[in-house]
Every structure is written in C-alpha cells, then in structure tokens.
C-alpha cells in the first residue's frame, strides 16, 4: 500500500527510458565522447604520445603521421590538455562501435619552428 502513489504515478507518467536507437539523447556539452585531431596545427612534438596513459597515440616522425588507436583510447582528455598547439580536441559525441581494430592515421602539416618548446 505504501508503494501505491509511486505505482499510480507510473501508470499515468510516460516511460523513463528512450526507444534507443530510434531516439537518442543529445550528448552533454562537455562530455568526453571521442578524440578529434586537427592536422593543420600538429607539429609532431610528441607530448600527447608521451603523456597518454593508454598508449593509444603513436607518432611516425619520418612519414609525419599521427596515429590514433581508438580501441585503446580511454578518452581521458589528457592529450587535449597537454597539446601545446591545441591540435587535439575532445568532442562530446560518442564514437560508434567498431568491428576491427583499425588505427586512424592523420598527417601532421604544421612545421616545428627552430628553438620552439615542445610542451614538456
């Protein structure tokens, strides 16, 4: 009997759940969803790769490649915080599930100036 008010409210209220995946909730503005990379700003300083706790970032300095392993990434936001050029940002949208462990390869375009500090 004590549960009755809750039961009545449930009968007339709508469902608390969403019809996922037909209806999805907009991600919150500052949620950590996935890593986004801006090729034009990166100068291959390598701070992100050194500080990443999940070893999810690789650099190929010869080919000027910035390689992200999304299956290892824990979206902790450390890379975005330490990047001295703000080339890495965290977007709030969740990454879709994937079937293969494929690395995402970007090509860094900015050039490191002489005597420039590399963030660490």
């Amino acid at each position: 009997m004590i549960m009755l008010p809750t039961v009545v409210r449930n009968l007339f209220g709508g469902p608390a759940t969403r019809m996922y995946p037909v209806t999805t909730r907009e991600p919150f503005a500052r949620a950590r969803g996935h890593v986004e990379f801006n090729e034009d700003l990166c100068n291959q300083c390598g701070t992100c790769a050194r500080r990443c706790p999940a070893i999810a970032i690789d650099l190929d300095k010869d080919k000027k490649e910035w390689i992200l392993h999304p299956d290892r990434c824990i979206i902790c936001e450390v890379c975005a915080e330490v990047c001295p050029k703000d080339a890495i940002t965290i977007a709030p949208q969740w990454r879709a599930p994937f079937y293969k462990r494929e690395a995402i390869i970007y090509h860094s375009k900015a050039v490191k100036e002489k005597g420039e500090k590399t963030g660490e």
Binding site: I2, T6, A31, R32, R51, P53, C76, E77, V78
Partner: protein
C-alpha cells in the same frame, strides 16, 4: 542429524554482479558453514602502477572499481600529494568533496536497488535505478563522464563547476531527495521488506569491532567510526556527523545507507553553498620524493586505504591498496552460519560486496 551437503554459491549467481564463490555447507536448508573463495577478478593493477609513470596511474586506479571510481582516483592523488607533501587549493578540495559525495549518492541508490532486487521487489529496483540515472547525468554534465569521471589530478582537479551547472546540480539533487524519500518510505516501512531483512545476519557491536569491519556495515552495528571525521578535503568545514544504527542486521544496514544517502545530498548542497573561489590545481615540483605516505578515505562501501612509496623517479616504488570489501568479507563467516539458504543472497548483498575492488 540431517546429512550435510556442500552447495556452491557463485562465482556466477544472479545476485552477484561480480565473481565470488561461497562454498555453503548445508544441513537441509540451514547453513552450517561457509568457505569463501576469492581470486576470480585479479588484474594485477598494483604491479602495473609501479610500471607506469605516476600521473598515468590515476586513470588505472579509477578502473579498480566501477562504482567508486572517482574516489579511487582522488585517493590515489591524495596519497601521492602526501609524498611531497603538496597542499591542494581550497576550491579543489571542495570540488573533490562534492564529486565524492555525488559518487556516494549514486552508489547507495544502486545498492538500495540491488537489495530490492535480491528479495524480488523488481519494481522498486527499477525505481531506484531511475533516480540514480539523474545523479549519473549531473556527474556527466560536471565531469564529462558518467562512470570513470577522471576529474582528479595530482595537485587538485581538472574541471570546474560553473554557476549554471551548480544551479542545475542543486535542482536535480533536491529532486532526487524528494523522489528517494517516497521510495525509502516503502523500504523502511513495508511489511514484506521487514520480513526479509529484520534479524537477518546479525552482528553485535563487539563482533563488528573484533572482525575489523568498516563503512556502513560497521556503523549498522552501532560503532561510530567514519573516515570522514578526520576532516580531509572539505569535510572539516562541513557539518558532518556519522550515521549510526544499532540493530546490526540487514535492515539496519539498509537504514544506515538510506540515512547516508540523504546526508550525502545535504553535504553536497552545503558544499555548493560554501564553494570558495580560486585556483583548481597546484603544480607539483619535480618527481615524487623518496618518501612514504598513507591515505584513508571513506568510500561508499567503507574505508579505502592507500600506501605509496616514492623513490625520486617518475615511477612509484610501491603502491598498496586495501579496499573496504576485503575487510568486510570475513563477517560473512560469522553472519551466514545458522541462516536459511534463501536468506544468503540478502546477507551477502548487505555488506555491499565489490569483488573487483577487493582483488584489483
């Protein structure tokens, strides 16, 4: 005398979200002996923490446990700060307190739901988890993630709560309190709930102290013992008094957690009111020095203990974690003998077991 049988309870059991095995010695339906077997969830996190650089361990320590992940990260930061020692800014200590209490709110709501589920009250389980979702949402709004918040760093916190978020959090928390009150009223007063919990798994004051228990489990036996009374972070400034029940049974453990749920919301509201302005983090100088430190922090399940030893490099020489469930499991050996088989799930759940925490 009826013949004795050994019945395994777990490691896979509907009431256990995590693997622990209890070998129950039964005489008909009555439990006469119990042997717990742990070790199904060992991941070697303590050793991995020695191999990682110290700032990277925060994210590893947060993954010791899913429910108290924020507090694990904060306690790790706390113990590493004590190696220097490093003073954290007042705003950071308030924010840590707010997030720790938010974690406690959602953890206790989760546990109350699981308790309802353990005695078959499915609709109440759903209702508790519906409320819990609101707390997880404000955690995601303020920290960026609903489970592994990753807000703490060595020296302070990484994120700030601005005025809009603060206003929103206060509104949601008041709403959560109102909705939880309606449900807790059912839990505390309903006849069937009382029939399943009152007098089940009784531990006296002396037994609770002799077994070295911690957390709500200890306080339900009448012992006024809580790590938050040390006054770490902002707890020293807030009006905080441990919640104690005297029954020592499963019902008292639920009552303590219901009380702590309200108290956690009140502490957050008070902390939001007193939130000072200022820096978010202090910058540590160099590597952690060759020194030893311990830190004791109250988690939703009880006291977590961290020990760290630095050696002047970026890696720690040793990190040791003792989690609350490890201290609480021995009480099962005292509570279970003599009870009915049907009461075993409720008694096991009443210590709020977190097995992955225990084994790391």
């Amino acid at each position: 005398m009826a013949p004795r049988t050994i019945t395994p309870f777990g490691p896979q059991h509907p009431v256990l979200p995590e693997p622990i095995q209890l070998k129950l010695e039964l005489e008909d339906e009555r439990v006469v002996g119990v042997v717990p077997a742990i070790g199904y969830g060992h991941r070697g996190i303590e050793k991995a923490c020695e191999l990682n650089e110290y700032p990277k361990n925060i994210y590893l320590c947060e993954r010791i446990c899913g429910i108290c992940s924020a507090i694990h990260g904060m306690t790790y930061c706390d113990v590493v700060e004590k190696l220097w020692p490093l003073e954290i800014p007042p705003r950071a200590s308030y924010l840590r307190t707010i997030w720790a209490e938010m974690a406690r709110t959602h953890s206790h709501l989760l546990w109350l739901g699981l308790l309802a589920d353990a005695f078959g009250f499915e609709s109440m389980f759903m209702q508790y988890w519906r409320i819990r979702e609101k707390v997880l949402d404000i955690l995601e709004i303020t920290t960026g993630h609903r489970v592994t918040q990753s807000v703490s760093i060595v020296g302070g916190v990484r994120r700030d709560i601005d005025d809009d978020q603060k206003k929103h959090c206060i509104e949601v928390l008041k709403d959560v309190r109102k909705e939880a009150e309606a449900l807790n009223n059912v839990l505390v007063n309903d006849y069937t709930v009382k029939a399943r919990t009152v007098g089940k798994g009784v531990l006296s004051y002396d037994q609770a102290i002799a077994l070295g228990l911690c957390g709500p489990h200890l306080r339900a036996s009448g012992v006024k013992e809580d790590c938050r009374t040390q006054g770490y972070w902002a707890y020293g400034d807030l009006s905080y008094e441990p919640i104690v029940a005297t029954g020592g049974d499963s019902f008292s453990r639920a009552a303590v957690r219901v009380g702590e749920l309200y108290q956690a919301i009140d502490l957050q509201l008070e902390a939001f009111g007193k939130l000072p302005e200022g820096e978010l983090a202090a910058k540590p100088k160099g590597n952690p020095p060759a020194n030893e430190a311990v830190s004791r922090v109250e988690q939703p399940r009880g006291e977590v203990f961290y020990y760290a030893k630095g050696n002047g490099t970026r890696n720690l020489e040793r990190l040791r974690v003792r989690t609350p469930t490890y201290a609480n499991i021995p009480s099962l050996l005292v509570m279970l003998p003599g009870c009915e088989l049907a009461d075993v799930p409720i008694i096991v759940l009443s210590i709020d077991p977190c097995i992955s925490c225990t084994e790391r």
